[in-house]
């Protein structure tokens, strides 16, 4: 079977000569240039469309990758979010939203869960007060 390839390779030389012959004929055709101009135009248009479509920034793929080492003051916290490995992010985290920005904290730490409970309790209190008022 290796012989078969070699025969193929031999015929390839003959073919190459034919191709040279062909290209010398086709060189006369000007429409070859026209085709390439059209192709270039199509590519440029596509690229422009792509560029216009990408003029947005994605904040969606942001994740916590490391935890705060020091504690955050509770008074600075406005609220919290939960990042879990069951979604797109690779580690679990409690994200505290502070006046200065977001803080990634380790849910295994006691103070973190304590803050979460305090926020929850605070909300529960407000809830009870408001529902009483409405009644």
């Amino acid at each position: 079977m290796s012989f078969a390839i070699i025969t193929q390779l031999l015929t390839q030389q003959q073919i190459r000569q034919t191709r040279q012959h062909l290209s010398s004929i086709t060189a006369a055709g000007t429409e070859e240039n026209m085709v390439s101009v059209k192709a270039t135009a199509a590519v440029i248009t596509l690229l422009t469309v792509c560029m216009l479509a990408t003029n947005t920034s994605a904040v969606y793929y942001e994740c916590c990758r490391r935890y705060m080492v020091i504690k955050i003051p509770f008074a600075a916290i406005k609220g919290y979010s939960v990042q879990t490995v069951t979604e797109m992010c690779p580690i679990n985290a409690i994200i505290f939203h502070t006046k200065k920005g977001k803080a990634c904290t380790n849910p295994a730490l006691n103070w973190v869960m304590d803050y979460v409970n305090r926020i929850r309790n605070k909300a529960q209190m407000v809830h009870m007060k408001t529902s009483k008022k409405q009644q």
């Binding site: 034919t18 429409e31 590519v43 994740c63 990758r65 705060m68």
Partner: protein, 388 residues
């Protein structure tokens, strides 16, 4: 209550000191790479890949009947690559901003991406095995390289690719990431007392943001699948085909070098090109993916994480380039294939000329047509089905 359990913590200190925050990683480098390089390079890859692979398919559909095992493999590789480059721009477009095409498209696009990745890679391994049998095991080749065998093997490859992609189909969802939703104790309340709001990093409310990513119902499945999916991709989608290719092509090269022929070096070069291009395209991405998978659950600084994401984006783009190189490396390297391909181009010209320049080139065209016909017929007479 909490201040009792933490006596060292005092309220007045709390009020004025926040300190340096460790926030969410924004991956600015990766974003700028994605924004600048991504769309341009991806569209070039998509256009070239689309043209190359659809030419291969068109050649088989209109000009060349699938006569051999190699033909069937090449056709299947072209189909896998074509589906891949069709899905790619849609994925890139959706990842650029919020995923806008919904849950069905999310599952279908991610799933077909995975199916085509696996089938493409496994079929390349099949091609190397086919060449190995043709050259090294030449005596058995007539029995082993039959059409029905290759159809069965292709079917097995596609079924395996689909089975390996089941987790992707199943666990990818289109959703709003819950860590973008903030629980705030406020006056206007939901029933739980906690108000949910979606905020950007600067506290400005954002429109709903959807991602097409993994989502699981429990922790253990999440950890397992997040490790298993990329590991399988590296093992079955890269190392297995790589090992098969290295084994088969080494044997092929040894056999070719033993044959005394002045043209053998061309064949060796083609084989080397196939292997080198495969390694250059896929090794960087798979090494990055391996490192990413190993260190996935570790804590990283944002700089590290950003660098890793950027490396993944760049190497992935290099890996994508492989699907537009496949038609050149496998199909158009073959003499017969090139002739068929030339015939397609010329037939298209003939069609085009009827509309563009009715009279002027007709004589030249017929001349080209006749001479190609002759060369095509000439090449198809020698019986080898081994395209190289």
């Amino acid at each position: 209550m909490s201040s009792l359990s933490e006596p060292e913590y005092n309220e007045s200190y709390e009020d004025y000191y926040i300190g340096e925050l460790i926030g969410l990683c924004t991956h600015n480098n990766n974003h700028s790479v994605e924004q600048v390089v991504g769309p341009y390079v991806h569209s070039i890859i998509c256009i070239l890949g689309f043209m190359g692979n659809s030419l291969v398919i068109a050649t088989y559909a209109f000009y060349k009947r699938t006569k051999s095992m190699t033909d069937i493999y090449l056709l299947n590789v072209a189909i896998a690559d074509l589906l891949f480059v069709v899905a790619l721009p849609l994925i890139v477009y959706n990842e650029m901003s919020s995923w806008s095409m919904g849950s069905v498209a999310c599952k279908l696009l991610r799933g077909s991406y995975s199916v085509n990745l696996y089938s493409g890679m496994l079929l390349l391994a099949c091609i190397s095995t086919d060449r190995y049998i043709a050259i090294v095991q030449a005596r058995r080749s007539f029995r082993l390289r039959s059409l029905s065998y290759s159809r069965i093997i292709c079917a097995i490859v596609w079924v395996c690719a689909v089975l390996l992609s089941v987790p992707t189909f199943y666990f990818y969802h289109c959703y709003q990431p819950s860590h973008n939703m903030m629980f705030v104790p406020e006056e206007n309340l939901t029933h739980s007392g906690l108000n949910l709001s979606v905020e950007g990093w600067d506290g400005v409310s954002l429109p709903p943001q959807y991602v097409c990513e993994f989502r699981f119902s429990d922790n253990n499945t999440a950890l397992l699948t997040k490790l298993a999916v990329p590991s399988t991709q590296i093992a079955v989608g890269f190392f297995l085909p790589l090992l098969i290719m290295i084994f088969c092509y080494t044997a092929v090269i040894i056999t070719l070098l033993r044959a005394k022929n002045f043209q053998r070096h061309k064949a060796v070069r083609v084989v080397l090109a196939v292997v080198v291009v495969f390694i250059v395209c896929h090794l960087p991405y798979n090494v990055t993916l391996l490192y990413d998978t190993i260190s996935m659950f570790d804590q990283h600084s944002c700089e590290e994480s950003d660098a890793l994401h950027t490396a993944k984006t760049v190497t992935q783009t290099i890996a994508y380039m492989h699907c537009c190189l496949n038609p050149v490396l496998y199909a158009f390297v073959g003499v017969k294939f090139r002739n068929h391909f030339r015939k397609i181009v010329q037939d298209l010209w003939c069609l085009g000329k009827r509309y563009i320049a009715p009279r002027r080139f007709s004589r030249v065209t017929s001349e080209i047509y006749v001479s190609t016909r002759r060369s095509v017929d000439g090449s198809s007479e020698n019986g080898s089905s081994f395209t190289m």
